[in-house]
């Protein structure tokens, strides 16, 4: 395999990028299995999106899905769960397995453990999917009680999360084994970044684990009769906000640690890349009340404190903006790019993997602006639960993350399968159609939200829609139509790629791993050590969540049984 960028050096200071380590066939297959599940989930989940957007302007295609999908809401549950929970989680865990092995230049230390984690996730997925498809879990991906889904839905989601934990343990153990053999050497960034994300995920998912295990699962099994919906919301959003960073950080791993190489550059600052990740570890979690600004039952002071902490989690994203753009500029100027903005043209825009990720990053800038608005305490009153919110997160999870993952898959799937990408041109058009469709879609959704249109609502059927909304509703549908084309193209490129013949090893794409401009070995040790950051994360969590969480648990009122009959 020609994945060797340069021969590994024996020097102690030489960062061991291990560019030379080629995953074994079973390892490639293992990563590929994750991607396979992820992409199938995305294809099914994303088909629902355009149907929703067509519904907004009165084109109701749901009758054609009747045998399976009985309502807009059932479709929306499928859309949210498959896209936001399954596509993301499977891709992320698979990609992290990849960056761990590739970055550290070694196999997983406990491959059986990771396989067990993966199959746990798969079993969980099947258990979740059955009740959704049989219309006995039409509770949307937030499953707020007292909407009561079948117990299998809750148990299935739990297994998906537990499986991802188990895989995470496999990654930590692998890093530990590597450290034993490489004392004094900075851990490679792409491995460390993915593993920090896995650690954050373990802390973050405690909320939803407690919610399901102590309330929803026993309730759906008939062991308890009632729920405490406000406490459930607090548990849910303990996980719900860091969830968005769990999605985002793997894209950041690529933007910091791989994309610069793809554009012929280097990582501008290894130290700051690491600092940003550590900051995400400590401030991603204690911010959940920013999703509950409009909730009764949570005092304003706590909401305000979480608003402040949310502002602090914006800071590492500002660092990311600088470091990533500077890394790109460095590469572009090396390629001969000149001028204040003219250098942008010197980026390899014709490479679909690069184009997809650059376009994803551009959309993310607007996602970031919207996100800061959402987080701004009373500004949330303007947009909470309006169409603005889906408008916002289709720029983040459905673009910054999804389009980046698509871009990654344009080299990763060929690498894993020993093939070449089928029709890079189609892939390029796919990235651009996503970009254009999403701009139209999301702009219209933001405007609708400002005008007061609610989210989670088939607006095509609503009686309260004023004249003024119609043009924007139509734009949502147009954007959705363009996105439909893009999704289909993505599926075609993936399927066709897997159907081409395998090629000689030297024709298979190499793995892009960006070196830092300043040797990673010069990065301070405290930016390569888990302990202080984990302690800081625990302390901050205790201070920022502890009192209110204890209060809500202490005063728990299990008194909401929900309606007598199934409400959907």
């Amino acid at each position: 395999m020609s994945v060797v960028d340069r021969p590994p050096s024996s020097s102690e200071y030489e960062p061991r990028f291990a560019g030379g380590y080629d995953l074994t066939r079973p390892e490639k297959r293992f990563v590929g299995q994750h991607l396979f599940v992820a992409i199938v989930a995305l294809m099914i989940g994303s088909l629902m999106g355009p149907l929703q957007s067509f519904q907004f302007s009165g084109v109701d295609l749901y009758p054609y899905l009747d045998p399976i999908i009985k309502s807009y809401y059932q479709g929306l549950t499928l859309h949210g769960v498959l896209n936001a929970l399954i596509w993301t989680t499977f891709f992320i865990v698979g990609f992290t397995a990849f960056t761990t092995m590739k970055g550290l230049g070694r196999s997983l230390s406990h491959p059986r453990l990771n396989q067990f984690g993966f199959w746990t996730m798969v079993v969980g997925l099947v258990m979740t999917a059955i009740p959704i498809l049989t219309n006995s879990a039409t509770v949307l991906y937030t499953f707020y009680p007292p909407l009561k889904a079948s117990w299998a839905f809750y148990l299935g989601l739990t297994l998906v999360v537990v499986g991802s934990w188990i895989e995470g343990w496999g990654f930590f153990l692998t890093l530990r084994a590597w450290r034993k053999d490489n004392r004094g050497v900075r851990s490679p960034f792409i491995a460390l970044g993915g593993i920090i994300n896995a650690a954050m995920w373990q802390i973050a998912t405690l909320g939803v684990a407690v919610e399901i295990l102590t309330m929803l699962l026993p309730w759906s099994l008939g062991l308890i009769d009632n729920t405490d919906p406000e406490l459930a919301r607090t548990y849910f959003w303990f996980t719900g906000h860091p969830l968005v960073y769990f999605w985002l950080l793997p894209a950041y791993v690529s933007w910091y640690g791989m994309l610069p190489k793809q554009v012929g550059g280097k990582l501008f600052s290894d130290s700051l890349a690491r600092l940003a990740f550590w900051m995400f570890l400590i401030v991603s979690v204690p911010v959940g009340f920013h999703h509950q600004f409009t909730d009764p039952g949570v005092p304003q002071t706590w909401k305000w404190i979480h608003a402040l902490l949310t502002y602090s989690v914006f800071f590492p994203s500002m660092i990311t903006a600088f470091t990533v753009i500077a890394s790109l500029e460095y590469g572009a100027r090396k390629n001969g790019g000149t001028g204040l903005i003219g250098w942008i043209r010197a980026l390899p825009w014709l490479d679909p993997s690069v184009a997809a990720q650059l376009l994803a990053a551009i959309l993310f800038m607007f996602g970031g602006i919207g996100g800061l608005t959402n987080a701004s305490y009373s500004l949330n009153l303007v947009i909470h639960n309006t169409a603005w919110v889906p408008g916002h997160f289709h720029l983040t999870v459905a673009s910054a993350v999804t389009l980046s993952f698509m871009g990654i898959s344009y080299w990763l799937v060929p690498y894993l399968s020993g093939r070449q990408l089928w029709s890079p041109k189609t892939a390029l058009v796919q990235a651009w159609t996503w970009f254009v469709g999403m701009i139209i879609f999301s702009n219209a959704m933001h405007v609708l939200g400002l005008l007061g249109a609610p989210r989670r609502t088939p607006l095509g059927d609503a009686t309260y829609v004023p004249e003024e909304w119609n043009g924007h509703l139509l734009r949502v549908s147009i954007g959705g139509g363009i996105l439909l084309v893009s999704v289909i193209m993505y599926g075609v490129v993936m399927v066709k790629t897997m159907r081409t013949e395998r090629v000689a090893a030297e024709l298979v794409p190499t793995v892009p791993i960006a070196e830092p401009i300043r040797s990673a070995q010069l990065t301070p040790v405290w930016l390569d050590t888990f302990k202080p950051w984990l302690i800081a994360a625990a302390l901050l969590l205790l201070i920022a969540y502890g009192p209110q969480l204890v209060d809500q648990i202490w005063n728990m009122n299990l008194n909401a049984p929900g309606p007598d009959s199934t409400p959907w």
Partner: protein
Amino acid sequence: MTGSQEPNGDQPVDSRAIQVEPEAEEEHFRPNGTIFILILFVAALILLWLSVYVILLSRGVTV
């Protein structure tokens, strides 16, 4: 924007340290284009954020 100031002798201490590939251009690379894009970004951020803030102010007090 403070970001566009010239560095005043505030050179990174590592200039004489072990370089993986000591190339002169790397030490002199100044990300001017980055600063330019980020200024545009901050301008958009302030503008869009303020426009929602103005909507908030125009929609009345909720004590």
